[in-house]
């Protein structure tokens, strides 16, 4: 419900890709993982998550497969493609540079 604070679409893509780098998972699990890893700061709603997932699938950076989930029901699992891994590396590096630069200004004099 609470929108992730100042979370831009591009950053959401980065988060999703990073989460999926560890293992394939379905949409709900991705949202939960993001919440856990950010210590409850970032909460991604369905309305932001699924369009992002579909867009990433459209661009060929993740691929989808219907599998049986933990509770034995069908769910759509997403996994990183090879192209997706490359994009993840790029985006992560960019983010590091960007955030370092911003930190310099904000926490500097």
């Amino acid at each position: 419900m609470s929108k992730p604070t100042d979370l831009v679409q591009g950053t959401l893509n980065l988060l999703i890709l990073k989460v999926l780098a560890l293992e394939p998972m379905h949409g709900w699990a991705i949202a939960r993982r993001i919440r856990q890893m950010s210590e409850n700061v970032l909460r991604v709603g369905q309305s932001a998550l699924y369009p992002a997932l579909h867009k990433l699938e459209q661009q060929g950076w993740i691929e989808a497969e219907w599998k049986a989930s933990e509770n034995n029901r069908r769910a759509k699992y997403y996994a990183l493609t090879r192209a997706g891994r490359k994009v993840l590396a790029n985006e992560a590096e960019q983010w590091e540079r960007l955030s370092a630069a911003i930190s310099l200004i904000v926490s500097g004099a």
Binding site: H26, S47, Y50, E57, E63
Partner: protein, 880 residues
Amino acid sequence: MRWLAKLRLRVRSLFLKTRVEQELDEELRYHLEREIEEGLAAGLPPDEARLAARRSVGAVDQSMEECRDMRGVTFVEHRVQDLRFAFRQLRKHPAFATTAIVMLALGLSANVAIFGFVDAALVRPLPYADATRLVTVFATRPDKVQAQTRGFISYQDFLDWRERNRAFRSIGAYDVRSGFILTTPEGPQSVPGLSVTAGFFRTLGVTPAVGREFERDEEGPTAPPTVMLSNATWQTRFGARPDVVGQTLTLQGEPHVVIGVLPRDFHFTMAEHAEFWTAIRGRQYCWEHRGCRSLEAVARLAEGVSAETAIANLASIVREVRSEHPDSHRDPETAKVVALRDVMLGDIRPVLLALLSGAGLLLLIACINMVSLLLARSDSRGREMGLRSALGASGMRLVSQFATEALVLVAIGSAFGLALAASGMRSLGSLLTPDMISRMPYLQGVGLDLRLMAFAGVIALLALLVLTLAPAARLSTSERLAGLREGSRGASGTTWRRFGAYLVMAEFGIALVLLVSAGLLGQSFHRLLQVDIGINAQHLVLVGVQPVPGEASEQPGVLARKVAERMASLPGVQAAGYADLVPLSGGLAPSSVFRRDGSPDEHLDDFPVRRVGAGYFAALQAKLLRGREFTEEEVASTRNVVIINDTTAQRYFRGEDPIGKAIVIGAPPAREIVGVVADLKDGPLETPVLPAAYVPFDQPGFGLVVRASGDERALFPSLARAIRDVQPGLLIQGPTSMTERIDRQPSASLHRSSAWLAGGFAAVAFVLSVVGLYGVVAYSVGQRNREIAVRMALGAQRRSVYQLVLGEAAWLVGMGTALGMICSLAAAYLMRRLLFGVQSWDAATLACAAAVLIVSALLASYIPARRAASVDPIEALRAE
């Protein structure tokens, strides 16, 4: 392989839409359930858990919509939706659809068909290498330089020009007198052909398909006889044999050796389907005497040389030659250089451009009508648009709907239009007489090709643009919402009604322009046919006779006299005569200088001279103004006598009686004038009459004119038989009747075709504009039903209703006609070169056209007026 996976995704989204939607639904539902489970696991009661889950999940429909957008196929989906809707709309309104499609098809086909000819004649380059560097060159008097576009030179002069010029990379010439006699196993045959100088084809930039062209040593008085074939002749007469070079054939009684074949796409306007090309060789009077001008020269400008430089260079050569040979040159002379393209296309350019403009105007009317129709329809769709907007359609989406509908109309209309154009071009092509084709060979075989399809595409695109923007422009936010209001009928109707009125005015203006143009062209054609050619053209037969060269022949002229006498003795023949070139024969008479004996040797002009036998003018029933015809004795002895035409008499002997006086034709001695004949039209119909002289006949070949007392066609077989009786083995051309010859004249055919086409355009434009007016008036009346009903309920008479409607219509028509008059005058002025015998401001034509238009318009608006006046006010008001 990423693109493959992506493609698969897109294809799946498009074609397995239901499954994909189901999956999305399932995915989102799963998410929701897990949220609920989590809530339950955290200890919330089921209802609260569900509520919390829903809240955290957000608006489902919107996320589904966004997911759909992400799939990237929305564009295609929307277009498909639009398309389906467009087709449904068209099916529901078949009248509108048919009208729109028909109008577009007509407008498009007219333009494409005419443009096909314009492209073939004016846009396509000539089939010569680098044709822009090609020019014709000739010498002329300084005071005639402006007006003259073609001129001849003599072979002797040509030789000097070729040797001394520095402005041309190469120069060639052809003799304007054409035709040879080919000896075939079946007997002698007259064939079309030309004689040219060596290097003529190289000058044009044409390479032979087989063999080579004439070398310098194959030209001249002692050169051996050689010949080149046209590609078509090589195919038909020689079966396209590869070893044709070296074969011999007999032309003019001499064996000629084939040295080459011309390429297939070669054509030369002045060549008239020439089959054989020989070099200027052997002995001929005209080629040995500097005063006889029978060649037309074609030259290729050297690199970097402009026309002005060439003219200067040639002018100095002309001056040199004149000082070396004062007897054969008028004074003073200068050179003129004309682009070859202008010479070849001069005649037809104004006609084609005029026709193209007419077709363009027709397309404009068609578009205006379609816009009116669409505007009228978009009124009734106000509600639909309002609803769509309220449901969330963006402006772009609505416009794309209009665009799709326009696309469907334009696509169907274009398909029909192209089909119509293809058959139109075929029928236009069949209108071309053989004479026209030989003068304008590039007009043959015009058909749909890539360029024309591209042109049609441009027109279709423009139509698409217009038809999309028209209803789209009507769309504004307030309008959209206003459309939803109950009972509203396009609230801001007045602005658009006025716009519709302006459209109709424009239509009428254009229709008037087309009507007037058609009227003027029709009159020109009529006048052309009535041109006084100075003879009685009825019941006249023309036959060309040629003895085979090389065969034993008597004194020239004796044969002609014998044949004429034989003709005159046949039953059904009133009189017979002969000459070297009969009227309208299409041949060019060699010209000589005219000088009144005793007058000074300056400012001399040359004019055509024809050689005629005794009784020639009587057979033609030309009017002899003074004096007499030649006697047989004078013709037999080729005495120094001459008959002049009236123009010559006026020019050289004004106010005196020329009979008995002397005039020098060509070279001295002077000839005695024995008769003055009224002007005969010897050349094309629209050219003015020149001075002309007629001297006693002295040629081997001749043209017969035979006056029949009844139907001339019945005489044809007996004439041919009688000629062969006099001397078997003579070559006979014809017989043809004079009236047929006049009809087939290229200028007559051109005027006739233009008049017909213009008439066709005018008729279609007329129908379209009257229908358009009817539509606008009927629609306006429909809009004002309520107003009229109230008026009538308040006591207005029917008459006042009529006044209301007809008054509005009359205002429209009046303004449109006035506008059209001005434009017609402008158009007629632009067309003035095409008109013959009728002024561009011809009041009768203007008045007639305007009257026709106004009367039909008033009739057309009478019907809706009547309907309005006969409405029952109570019913009308109740229905609101």
